[in-house]
Symmetry: none
Subunit: 123 residues, 2 copies
DNA sequence: TCGAATCCTGGCCACCCGGCCAGTTTCGCA
DNA sequence: TGCGAAACTGGCCGGGTGGCCAGGATTCGA
């Protein structure tokens, strides 16, 4: 019975803003096929805030830097990034250096963490 | 009036499971006051997966591994971690090695990214 | 009592990383 | 028509990283 694919979808409302949470609760409360989870209940999916954290002025990264950053977040080494982007390792290092500078990070791990925190990338 | 509190809520559907995503899209598609975001659009909130399949039982990490992992997420080097925890660099490497193994990561950056994705740590 | 797990440490070594120096091309804008 | 920004490449090098080997100490449950 737990494998009933057509059962109603349980949504966990995880919004800090009370006003927004209330509005969503009201709107979703009487939609057939959807049910809001009671506190602590295992939900199928969750609704989380999305507008606040991406607001504070995205850091100005070039397209190439974003390419490199995305691959860094995948755990790729400079060599792998170079191969994937079809450029040399030296160029990758060049972009990584710019990234560390712009993101105020001490290393690639820190850079990915900072970028994720600021919403520049999604993990 | 962009500050109209009663404007429709834009939801970003971020569900990997195609079937679930389709069902949610169908159910939410004609709810007054709610609109699904087009790709790339700035949404008010996001709907993310939250069932058991996406939370495959927290990885069994020891307390010490969690200590090391947290410092790694701060961008700390092995040497820094060693100093902070009062242990040798060799021991830090030992724990980092275990983390890479348990988190199925290729390097410390990948390890932090994986851990963040699985909710083991908060960035 | 005997493992098993966890935590700790050391040496060794190939490789990676980040920073330094230098240069080239292409593009858009003033 | 210059000029800066972006992208790209190279050499060099000190230090960091990760994997391998070896060991020892502790606790806990079978």
């Amino acid at each position: 019975m737990s494998a009933d694919k057509t059962a109603e979808i349980v949504l966990s409302l995880e919004i800090d803003d009370p006003a927004l949470a209330d509005r969503l609760a009201a709107l979703l409360g009487n939609v057939a096929g959807i049910r809001l989870a009671v506190p602590g209940e295992q939900a199928t999916a969750a609704i989380v805030a999305r507008d606040v954290r991406s607001m504070p002025a995205d850091i100005a990264l070039t397209q190439r830097e974003l390419d490199v950053l995305a691959l860094m977040a995948e755990g790729a080494s400079n060599k792998m990034i170079a191969r994937r982007l079809g450029i040399s390792v030296h160029t990758v290092k060049f972009h990584v250096g710019s990234l560390l500078d712009k993101l105020d990070a001490t290393g690639r791990t820190d850079a990915v963490a900072h970028a994720a925190r600021r919403g520049v990338i999604e993990l």
